[in-house]
Each structure stands twice: as C-alpha cells, then as structure tokens.
C-alpha cells in the first residue's frame, strides 16, 4: 500500500533569489521598525522623565527631603546597598515562599475541586471571601494570632496570591477537550490517569496565566503585610525600610527602596513569562509566533 504524503509540511518558502514585492518589503520594514521601537521608545520616555524630574527639582529649588534628584536616589541606592540588599532578600524570601505555597495550595485545591463537586460547593465560597476581603483589614488579626512574624507575612502574602492560581487551574482542569475525555473513557482510563495525562496538561496554560498574576500579587501581599506588621525585630524587608526612612525623612532612601520593589516586580513577571513561554512554546497557540 502506498500513501502519498500531504504536502503541508514540505518546504513552502520561495527561493531567495526571487525579488520580494513592494508590499512585502514595506511589511518587513515596518516589522523591523517596530522591533527597534519596542525598546527605544520606553527607554526614551524614561530618560526624558528623569531629565524633567531633575529640572523640576532644580528650578523649583525643592529640598531633597521632599523630592530628591534622580542622581541622589541612585547615589543612595549604591551607598545604602548593604542595608537595602538585606531587606530585598527578606522581601524576596517572603514573596517566593508565599508564591510557592500559593502554587501548592491553589493547584491542590483545584484538583480537589475538580475531583468532587461536593468539595467545591462546600469550599469555593470561602475561597472567594478570602479573595475579596482586603488583606490590610485581615492582616492585623493574623499578626495577633500568629506569633512568628515570618509566618504571619507568609500567610498574608499567600491569601493574596493563591486565588488566581486556584480559579485559573480549576477552569483549566475543567476545560479538557470533551472528545478527548470520551476517548480516555473508551480506553478505560482511571481517575488518576485522566488527571495526570489529560486534565493537568490541559490546565497548564491556564495555570501559567494564573501564576503570572500570582507572582505580582504575592509581592504586593508581602509588602502590604509588612506595612501592617510594622517596625521591629528580625526580618525587616523593603517595606519596613520605606516606613523607617519615612519616619526619618530620609526620602532618597525611600525612593531607592521603592525602586527596588518595582524592579523586583518586573523581574518576577518577566521570569514567570519566560517560564510560561518555555513550557508552552512547542504546542500552545499563545506561545507560537505567527509566521504571517
């Protein structure tokens, strides 16, 4: 028996010698310009804002304990680096710890929810309540009942971060293709096999979307909880540095700490996006570059 192959996979490119038409050339030019613009424009905006900031401070003679010049912030960042870096580590630790627990808790609960409708009906409302109650209003209570400050911070950050993972993963576990589900049934798959080979892979893109949101939220949760926990003791994170600097009117250091928090958020988001891309690039539409 011979089967002629479908031709889709065969090379569809035109020989390089062919002259591209005007439309193609214009499109290629546009794409190149966009690629450069993507980096160049935000950089320009930042530079211009910094210059404007600097000029405003100088022209209006604003004292540095109200608004420092950008140069001073940079200088403070370098000079206070040992203190700030220690605090950064603390904040990162809380953030990562909370994110890790959020992943375990969120995915675990999602799996439970999809295994049993009854469990979902019983507990989902509480997950929602936990999510919609502002963390600043719950945090003081947590710090009363939990002795360890680190544990309190972790709990706060976890509460903020786990919901997107839970709801996205639940949605993903549910969205496995119906036909595939039938197929698994025909082949007599067990509950565990269906979870492992069908539902979890189907949920991966949804989970990763939730993870990206949760990454940012756990940083926010960590910072907010620290504000509530207030000063003192071991484990002083960046939020504590900001509070402390505020009391002492050390505004440049406040800005430096703020800058570090923002950068941390960006790094977290970028690395989670990268992780997501690496895991999905082979098969998921979201990660596949369009050829046209």
């Amino acid at each position: 028996m011979t089967i002629t192959e479908d031709t889709r996979l065969q090379d569809a490119t035109t020989p390089a010698a062919l002259p591209a038409d005007a439309e193609e050339l214009a499109r290629m030019r546009r794409r190149r310009a966009e690629k450069i613009g993507q980096w160049l424009l935000p950089t320009l905006v930042v530079l211009l804002s910094l210059v404007a900031w600097d000029r405003i401070v100088v022209i209006n003679e604003i004292p540095h304990y109200i608004l420092p010049r950008p140069g001073l912030v940079a200088k403070t960042l370098v000079e206070d680096w040992p203190i700030l870096f220690d605090s950064l580590l603390v904040t990162l630790q809380i953030t990562m710890g909370a994110l890790a627990i959020a992943v375990l808790g969120g995915v675990g609960l999602a799996v439970l929810f999809t295994q049993s409708r009854w469990i979902e009906m019983s507990f989902f409302p509480y997950a929602v309540i936990l999510q919609v109650t502002p963390i600043v209003s719950v945090a003081p209570l947590i710090f009363i009942y939990v002795d360890s400050k680190i544990a309190g911070l972790l709990i706060c950050a976890w509460i903020v971060a786990f919901f997107p993972i839970l709801s996205n993963t639940t949605l993903g576990l549910r969205s496995a293709d119906h036909n595939l589900r039938d197929l698994f049934n025909v082949y007599g798959a067990t509950r565990w096999q269906r979870l492992r080979f069908l539902q979890l892979p189907s949920a991966l893109p949804y989970f990763l979307g939730g993870l990206r949101i949760a990454g940012g939220l756990s940083l926010i949760g960590a910072v907010v909880a620290e504000y509530v926990a207030g000063t003192g003791g071991i484990g002083s994170g960046l939020a504590f540095r900001i509070l402390e600097a505020g009391y002492r009117l050390n505004i440049p250091r406040m800005f430096a700490a703020l800058l570090l928090i923002a950068l941390t958020g960006i790094v977290i988001f970028a690395s989670l996006s990268f992780l997501s891309h690496m895991l999905l690039r082979k098969w998921h539409e979201s990660a596949i570059k369009r050829e046209t």
């Binding site: 089967i3 479908d6 996979l9 036909n179 039938d182 025909v186 082949y187 098969w283």
Partner: protein, 268 residues
Amino acid sequence: MTALAASRASADAGARPPLLSVSHVDKVFGRDVVALSDMNLEVGQGDFISLLGPSGCGKSTALRLIAGLSHPSSGTIRWAQERKDGDLSVVLQEPTLMPWATVAQNVFLPFRLQGRRYRAVRDEILEALKLVGLEKFQNAYPRELSGGMKMRVSIARALVTRPRLMLMDEPFAALDEITRFKLNNDILAMREKIGCTVIFVTHSVFESVFLSDRIVIMAARPGRVIRELAVAEPYPRSEAFRTSPDYAAQCRAASEALKEAMGAHDDH
C-alpha cells in the same frame, strides 16, 4: 442479479461468526427525546458496516452506546466473547489529538492507559505510523500537521492496539474531497492488513457504498433502523470500483433507499 442485494441483517451476518449484538435498544434523553428506538444489529466478525442517515437519526448515539460511553435506556448490547483491553477503538469526526504530545506520544495513548511502557510498545507504534504513512512525523506536534495528517494520526492511534472493533463517527466529514478519497482507499487497505470489524458513521452515500459490505439506513424522529443493504463487491476494492457502472448503480440504489428513509418522515 444486481450486485446490490437487499437483505435482512440476520441473513448476512449469519455467514460470519458474531462479534457483537445490539438487541431492542432504546435511548431516551431527558423525558421525551427518543434518540434511538428499538435498534437491532448483529455485527459479525470482519463486517464493515456503515450507518447512513440524515442528521439527528441517532447514529452517534448508537456508536456511543456500542462504545460503552453511555448506556441504553432499555435493551442490551452484548459482545459474543468477553471484551478485553484494546479490543475497541474509536475515531471521531475531529482528530482529537493531545496538542501537548508528539505524534508518537499520541499514538502511544491507548497503551499508556493500559499501563504499558513506551519502550515495550515502540515497535507497535512505529508499525501503526507506517500503516498511515506518517513514520517520518513521529516527533512532530499536531499543530504542525494538516487536517488529513491529523486524521491519520487519529487512525494510527485507533489501530495501534489491533482492535477487534473500530468505531468511526464521520471521521472524514471535515476533510476535502481529495483527501477523503485517499483516506477511504487507505482505510480499506489498512483493514486488509489488520482485519478488524468496522462500524462507520457517515452522511455520504458514496462513501458508504465504497467502503462497506453492509449499509444500515436509519431515519430520524424517532431514530431507528429502517433497512439494510448489502454491497456484494468483494474486497479488496480499488479505485477502479469507484468508476465502475456497478458502483454507480449501487449508489443510486442506496440513495433511493435513503430518500425513502427521509420521506418516511415528514419533517425533512
């Protein structure tokens, strides 16, 4: 005698050892949607049965019942010998591949669900892929394949366990005519090699005549079998059969039977 001879199911199936029998099966959805009413079908080993009928006549419902995906409201479906792992496979209208898995991993699925290791069945997987002509695409992902190739992977997955019964629900309905003809030829060729029984749901008179030796014609509201035709052309059938006057005559006869089926009820 014309090659197309009308016959009752039992008369024809009597010639072959039985595989499965559907007797007096009804399926009612909700309280009053009668999807299938008093269906009887004796499936013999090696039969190629087409279920042909208008939309909504219960073809898919019948297939799902036979596959064990749902249960009859009344009546029974019995296998002549006990059904074992891998005895049954299905091919649906969509290729239904796992997008996160490679072609080979997709074909591996039935074995994986039996708890077998990839290494132990690698030869079978390769063999199945060879049968559908895709051995070069083992490591491709479904999104890299055309519609026809995806369907081939789906067929390879169905063949890989060497099933005794293969259920196909309009597998080629979404494909273009040329690809469909090619796959029709290929399906027959594969069946020659594997020798499994096929129940094939289709809307197309031409497809059913070309492929099957028994055509079960169904009507809607309520879904039921109204008659059965036999196609006497022996296998293997080639492209020549498709252009023969015999084929044309049988298609005409089947069309008329189908028209009768649809006329038997008012609302079409």
